[in-house]
């Protein structure tokens, strides 16, 4: 008898919790997959496609579905480490099949050579190239992510990828440029 009571009680409980869970699943449904957003926030948003996916978000979705985390050369090791942290997996070195980590670059069109074909404009994932058919094109430098995708389509090879110039406001302190430190001048001069 006690066994039957226990079974009934547990069965009822299971039913109640099942209903609560079922209700919660419908009522508190999350529209997008938050893990994808979190991964996407870590990726560098260059939209370069070096990982083999057409942009950072598709790669974020792929990682959420179990793809490797070491396919992003623009992000480099720091991005891999952050992803490893988030996903709870081992950090790996960058997969060299997808490219090497490089300095930050920006595309520059040699404007007198541009023929106005618009091919680069169509290739740019962030609409950072300005121009129209048979008109000269130019890169909006501060919107350019340095993804390299405009270089290949150019029929006259007039696009260069140049490293982002170092200016006083983005200069990283050079540790060689070092200290100025007082010794006890009074003592040393005696």
């Amino acid at each position: 008898m006690t066994v039957v009571t226990a079974l009934i009680v547990l069965g009822v409980l299971a039913l109640i919790f099942g209903l609560i869970l079922g209700f919660a699943a419908v009522r508190f449904r999350v529209e997008s997959d938050p893990i994808v957003d979190q991964i996407d926030a870590i990726l560098p948003q260059t939209q370069c496609g070096q990982c083999g996916y057409p942009g950072c978000r598709p790669y974020a979705e792929a990682i959420a579905n179990g793809d490797e985390i070491n396919k992003c050369p623009p992000g480099g090791q720091s991005t891999i480490n952050a992803l490893a942290d988030l996903m709870g997996v081992e950090a790996k070195p960058l997969d060299s099949a997808h490219g090497e980590e490089d300095v930050k670059k920006v595309a520059v069109i040699r404007e007198d050579e541009c023929i106005g074909c618009t091919k680069c404009i169509q290739a740019c994932p962030v609409d950072a190239i300005l121009g129209a058919a048979k008109q000269m094109h130019t890169v909006i430098a501060h919107e350019c992510t340095g993804c390299d995708l405009c270089v290949e389509p150019c029929p006259v090879d007039c696009i260069d990828m140049v490293p982002v110039p170092v200016r006083p406001d983005n200069w990283q302190w050079d540790l060689k440029q070092i200290p100025v430190r007082v010794v006890d001048a009074v003592e040393s001069s005696n």
Binding site: D40, T145, R167, P168, D174, I178, P179, V180, A185
Partner: protein
């Protein structure tokens, strides 16, 4: 009146944690009055000399300019103008050396002096209380005044913050060794500084000002004591000698016992601070209408024959300034802009004196030892004892080396005022401040990259959306065109015209008939073949 306010009024001096007592060495430069520096042949004026965006350049190569003429305009984002320091011709506008530890170039305006030193007509103001606060702020802004104490924060912007203030603090502490520019200025121009302080009080809408001077400047203290009887709003505070008493947060703690919150501003605790040099410049700009054309610069160190303080026009090349002071360079001579604790070594002597240059130090290798190799940290804890911001320099150093930027923020890296006290006492010669500066630059860089990535994401998503929309529109257009075609045909048929569909059907029927005929013929042949 609360007990704390009473104590402030009574002139109580609090204390701040840490601090050091390096040799002061101010006697090298503070013996002689401030001397005017003869005009140079050439001046290079960087367009950006304050913290904020530079203004737009107003002149062109070949233009004749007069002293006091604005070379850039008041820009957006608190951009301050720069002015021609003397009369002459603009010979170049382009990249040139600037006063920055990186040794990188930035836009500078080069002026070839004509030697006449004519200036534009200044507009003196008899009674500043008659014009509005906004007009006074505008006057200070167009005079190009930025904090002359070192940070170069636009003065008008600081004063424009409208919040109740208890005190305006005038900082004449000048705690860094060697430097005596503010000391001499206070001795010789105490009245102008007081005038400037009263103008600042008027603009800030504040009742009382505290003038802080370090105890090692008795002449400056005497100069103010003699004048302050007539100015009840102003009171003098003498602070004990300790480095870095002149740091903004440290001085606030000394004079009021209040602590500026982490990442906060003095205004959060009801205070605002200005340097004595700034007060002087404000008086000049308001009463005389004179923009910021020159400042007092200490030239000191054992390798100059005539150390002292000089009125130096903004834009004067350091090489010229040193030449005038009898520079005797030794092999591998270092020329330091700023003091020995917070200054930086210049990469090139063509760098000009700018608004925030308070000292040029040319030490012999005897008096200022060249940097030694860094040795391992022995965890002695001396750095933590002297840190005026109560940080853990040792811990910050480990974190900076490990590039643990989250950890650095948790340890309040951004509260570090880069005073250099920790590096000064470090027995292992670890250049601690440079690790912090580098880490700060990297944290800022990461923040910038993050903001840029956010923009790129938005642009990428907007583009995806646009492409999708265009695709839908194209499909819609095709569908509509097809419908229109069908409709036209149907109408044509209804009006008794040829239905193109009929022709198609007929053609299909013909093709079918032909195929059937061919098949029949082939079958016939096969049958014939079998029979044979």
């Amino acid at each position: 009146m609360s007990a704390a306010t009473k104590a402030i009024e009574a002139g109580h001096i609090w204390t701040f944690p840490g601090g050091i007592h390096p040799p002061e060495r101010k006697e090298i430069s503070n013996q002689t009055p401030i001397a005017p520096l003869p005009l140079a042949q050439q001046y290079t004026i960087p367009v950006k000399q304050h913290s904020g965006a530079p203004g737009e350049v107003l002149v062109q190569v070949g233009d004749k300019v007069k002293a006091g003429q604005a070379l850039t305009q008041v820009g957006a984002n608190n951009g301050l103008p720069v002015h021609a320091p003397t009369s002459g011709t603009v010979t170049a506008i382009g990249p040139g050396m600037i006063a920055h530890p990186s040794g990188l170039t930035d836009t500078v305006i080069t002026i070839e002096a004509d030697g006449n030193d004519e200036h534009v007509a200044f507009e003196p103001l008899a009674n500043y209380t008659e014009i509005s606060r906004a007009e006074l702020l505008e006057r200070i802004k167009t005079a190009g005044i930025a904090g002359l104490g070192g940070a170069g924060f636009p003065t008008a912007q600081k004063l424009a913050l409208q919040r109740p203030l208890d005190y305006l603090i005038i900082n004449g502490v000048e705690c860094e060794p060697y430097i005596s520019a503010d000391d001499r200025l206070m001795r010789e121009h105490a009245q102008t500084i007081i005038d400037g302080t009263e103008i600042l009080l008027h603009i800030a809408g504040c009742e009382k000002a505290l003038i802080a001077i370090e105890a090692n400047k008795p002449e400056a203290i005497a100069a103010f004591e003699a004048l302050l009887d007539k100015h009840p709003q102003l009171s003098l505070r003498v602070v004990p000698v300790k480095y870095p008493s002149g740091g903004e947060k440290q001085l606030i703690q000394l004079l009021t016992g209040r602590q500026v919150p982490s990442r906060g501003l003095p205004i959060d605790v009801g205070l605002v601070m200005q340097n004595v040099g700034t007060a002087y410049a404000v008086a000049q700009a308001t009463l005389q209408g004179k923009p910021l054309l020159e400042r007092v610069v200490t030239v000191t160190g054992e390798n100059v024959a005539k150390p002292g303080n000089y009125w130096v026009r903004i834009g004067t090349p350091v090489a010229y300034l040193l030449e005038q002071c009898g520079f005797k360079p030794e092999p591998e001579q270092r020329v330091i802009m700023g003091g020995p604790m917070m200054g930086f070594t210049l990469a090139d002597l063509s760098v000009p004196v700018v608004k925030i240059t308070n000292c040029i130090l040319v030490p012999s290798s005897q008096e200022l030892a060249p940097a030694q190799d860094e040795m391992a940290c022995i965890r002695c804890g001396a750095c933590a004892d002297v840190c005026p911001a109560q940080l853990l320099p040792q811990q910050l150093q480990w974190l900076a080396k490990a590039k643990d930027y989250d950890g650095l923020e948790q340890q309040n890296l951004f509260d570090c005022i880069e005073c250099g006290a920790c590096a000064y006492v470090c027995p292992s010669e670890i250049p601690l401040v440079h690790y912090y500066r580098k880490a700060k630059a990297e944290v800022r860089n990461i923040a910038r990259e993050k903001a840029k990535a956010e923009v790129a994401r938005e642009r990428f998503e907007a583009r995806q959306e646009r492409l999708e929309r265009e695709k839908q529109e194209r499909l819609e257009r095709h569908r509509k065109a097809a419908e229109a075609r069908k409709k036209a045909q149907a109408e044509a048929v209804a009006q008794g015209g040829d239905n193109p569909q009929d022709a198609v059907q007929a053609a299909i029927a013909r093709a079918k008939a032909r195929k059937a005929a061919q098949a029949a013929a082939a079958e016939q042949q096969n049958k014939d073949g079998d029979d044979a």
